[in-house]
């Protein structure tokens, strides 16, 4: 027994970090199976939540590719009864019904949304993510949380979509009160700058979807990207920066760096983050 473990350790020490992760997780998986647990290995037996390692995907996804996911023809076609069955028991929604107010663009593994869900229990919110596997993870996570916490997490959902192309398909004019862009892909090369999720052109679309007084939150650990996003927002006539006092007073601002996996990784490594939080304004004519 001990020699087996010694052998395994020797092997893992020599091999690459990737193999190491695979080796340890395979060992744990084997343990599980050996212990007679035949339930879905993707879901943790103890917490009943999905295990991230089974939903890993590349960090980057090509925002230009037209992956095949359904897109609603217009905001009226968004299936509220599928996303929020508790709030929309039938598929017809009366004209003055609730609408989604928070959108987390590139929500990743859903950390922010989960925190916001209990902070704003009456507000409908949605995560938008391009990567298939990651969206699946978030779906499973929300479902599991709904089961474990009756009455809670009914206001949060996720959709797989390309938010750079389809924001107007999901949200009506001035529908959103908050929009989040946490740790977006920096696209370092100059020629790829146009793929950045915050750009002067895309801000026009976000300004369309966010109501006057609504807030756009951005954070990154890449200084150059932080400067870029800040300057795009500063130069856009429909956005104005929040003051220091307003930032202090907003409970959501603290979540930007602590609630997501990416944010936690940055704090662990002692990195710096760069925030740009702006309000959608109506410019004086």
């Amino acid at each position: 027994m001990s020699s087996r473990i010694a052998n395994a350790q020797y092997l893992t020490a020599r091999e690459s970090p990737l193999a190491k992760t695979a080796a340890t997780s395979t060992m744990q998986l084997e343990e599980k199976i050996a212990s007679g647990d035949e339930s879905n290995p993707c879901i943790s037996k103890s917490t009943r939540l999905p295990r991230k390692r089974f939903y890993r995907a590349r960090a980057h996804s090509n925002p230009l590719s037209d992956s095949h996911f359904p897109v609603p023809i217009s905001p009226h076609h968004v299936e509220y009864s599928v996303h929020y069955p508790h709030f929309f028991p039938s598929s017809d929604s009366p004209p003055d019904s609730k609408k989604i107010e928070f959108a987390d663009v590139g929500c990743g593994f859903g950390g922010l949304l989960i925190s916001l869900a209990t902070l704003f229990p009456e507000t409908l919110m949605i995560g938008m993510e391009l990567r298939d596997k990651v969206t699946e993870y978030v779906k499973e996570r929300i479902l599991a949380l709904r089961v474990a916490n009756p009455g809670q997490y009914q206001n949060v959902s996720v959709v797989r979509t390309n938010s750079m192309k389809y924001i107007p398909n999901y949200f009506e004019k001035s529908q959103l009160s908050k929009m989040f862009f946490l740790f977006p892909d920096p696209h370092f090369k100059e020629k790829n700058h146009r793929r950045r999720v915050i750009s002067p052109f895309l801000l026009d679309e976000y300004a369309y979807a966010i109501r006057a007084g609504g807030i756009i939150y951005t954070i990154t650990d890449v200084e150059e990207l932080g400067d870029w996003m800040k300057s795009c927002l500063e130069n856009h006539p429909l956005f104005a920066a929040l003051t220091e006092e307003e930032l202090e007073a907003d409970p959501v601002v603290k979540l930007l760096s602590s609630a997501t996996e990416e944010g936690q990784k940055v704090s662990r490594n002692g990195g710096q983050t760069f925030k740009a939080v702006f309000r959608r304004i109506v410019p004086s004519v």
Binding site: L64, S74, P168, F201, D204, Y208, P237
Partner: protein, 438 residues
């Protein structure tokens, strides 16, 4: 990898035939019917209707100012004194229609897919294949001025989508852009366009395929007017563009399919082009695969569109690639043509026809008094046809080949390729970042 907007990739690793990119012929009419212009490939051909003679571009200045590659968009300004042409040679040429001198030349980064001129004639907008719309300001033009080079400023953008059509609203307050991703965006046209157009008024969403053409329909009773759009989903839709509300949908595809149930293999009836008659009573629609023109009546009070009839051209399998009208006459000008047609002696073809009397038709009187003009009846007669068509007689085989080529070309450009999952896996075979499957 900019895969979205590329034309047919020729190094496809399967049996797909390498197809040459053809350019459909375009036509545009001076708003006061002073002249008419046809673009075929890189040639711009103009005929002066007032004086009944062909126009030689840049004759007075002696400058050579022709396009070097296919022209993709042409337009007269609303006042008629400015004309724009642009396309694959990445040059936007702005002409004065008095002397047909090229006043300005704007060099662009990408190929241009659409152009528009603001109502006051002060700004020219052009859109490229990456979805960016640019604007140039025209200054007072001095007759003795040499050609001025200008640079465009970015106005707005549709993220990575080919912009198929660009239009200003009748009151000049809005600029409308339509793209290949089924969207129509209505943006406020600001007082200082060079700073960008940031305020989106609305989106007109409802089409389920690329939007190919836009037009405004209005009359004295309803001067604000409504927006009409044609799409690859074979519908023509009527919109209240201020709110983005869809007012009416006209299912052109099923009607044309019914009419052509004589064995045409496809049910692909994308809308190629459309325009409204000057009295706001009808919409003329050019449909792929349909010889002739489909007429729709437009009821601006009831906000509806309905199919009136098909006007077909006797003796010719004439499928228009572009249509246009002026504000003063009741002629509908149509051109059918392509350039770069492989396998034929003459590499380009253009055939011009006119339907007259369209503004007199309404749904109550079932009797239509519109007719297709014979070649001799056309204003300017055979001289005009010689100038705009390049020749007087067209080979029948060339016609059908041209129609097919245009259809394929439009489809390849604007409809996203669907790959089966095996094909997609095969295409990803070069990637080196895929972890081994668990």
């Amino acid at each position: 990898m900019e895969g979205d907007d590329s034309l047919l990739t020729t190094e496809d690793n399967n049996k797909e035939v390498v197809e040459l990119e053809v350019a459909p012929a375009l036509i545009s009419v001076h708003p006061a019917h002073h002249s008419v212009a046809v673009a075929v490939g890189c040639e711009l051909r103009v005929f002066n209707l007032r004086e009944g003679c062909p126009v030689t571009l840049g004759a007075e200045s002696g400058e050579v100012c022709h396009h070097k590659d296919s022209i993709r968009a042409i337009r007269y300004g609303a006042k008629g004194n400015v004309f724009v042409s642009a396309g694959d040679d990445k040059l936007v040429k702005i002409w004065t229609t008095d002397s047909w001198r090229c006043m300005y030349s704007v060099s662009t980064e990408k190929k241009v897919s659409a152009v528009a001129i603001s109502d006051n004639g002060q700004f020219v907008c052009y859109a490229d294949k990456f979805g960016v719309v640019w604007v140039v300001e025209l200054d007072e033009f001095n007759e003795n001025q040499a050609l001025v080079q200008k640079k465009g400023s970015p106005l707005l953008a549709h993220y990575c989508s080919i912009i198929t059509s660009l239009e200003f609203s009748p009151d000049g307050q809005f600029i409308i852009t339509a793209d290949r991703d089924f969207k129509i965006r209505v943006t406020m046209f600001p007082k200082k366009p060079l700073d960008g157009a940031h305020e989106i008024q609305s989106y007109c969403l409802g089409h389920t395929e690329f939007v190919s053409c836009l037009a405004f329909v209005y009359n004295v009773d309803c001067p604000h007017g409504y927006l009409v759009s044609g799409s690859g989903d074979s519908t023509v839709r009527l919109w209240d563009f201020t709110s983005g509300l869809l007012l009416n949908t006209c299912d052109v595809g099923s009607e044309v399919g019914r009419l052509m149930a004589n064995g045409t293999e496809s049910n692909y009836f994308a809308i190629t082009d459309l325009c409204a008659t000057c009295d706001g009573s009808s919409i003329c629609v050019a449909v792929q695969g349909l010889p002739g023109i489909l007429l729709l009546t437009c009821n601006l009070l009831a906000k509806t569109l309905s199919i009136l009839k098909v006007v077909s051209i006797n003796g010719e399998d004439f499928i228009p690639t572009s249509i246009g009208t002026s504000l003063t006459s009741n002629f509908l000008w149509m051109v059918m043509g392509v350039s770069n047609l492989p396998g034929f002696d003459s590499s380009s073809l253009a055939r011009v026809r006119i339907i007259s009397g369209l503004t007199n038709c309404n749904s109550e009187s079932g009797d239509q008094n519109h007719n297709i003009l014979e070649d001799q009846q056309v204003p300017g007669g055979e001289t005009l046809l010689q100038q705009l068509q390049g020749s007087l007689s067209i080979d029948k085989d060339v016609f059908s080949a041209a129609a097919e080529a245009v259809k394929t070309s439009m489809r390849n450009l604007l409809i996203k390729k669907q790959y089966s999952s095996e094909k997609r896996e095969f295409r990803k075979r070069g990637r080196n970042d895929r972890k081994a499957k668990r």
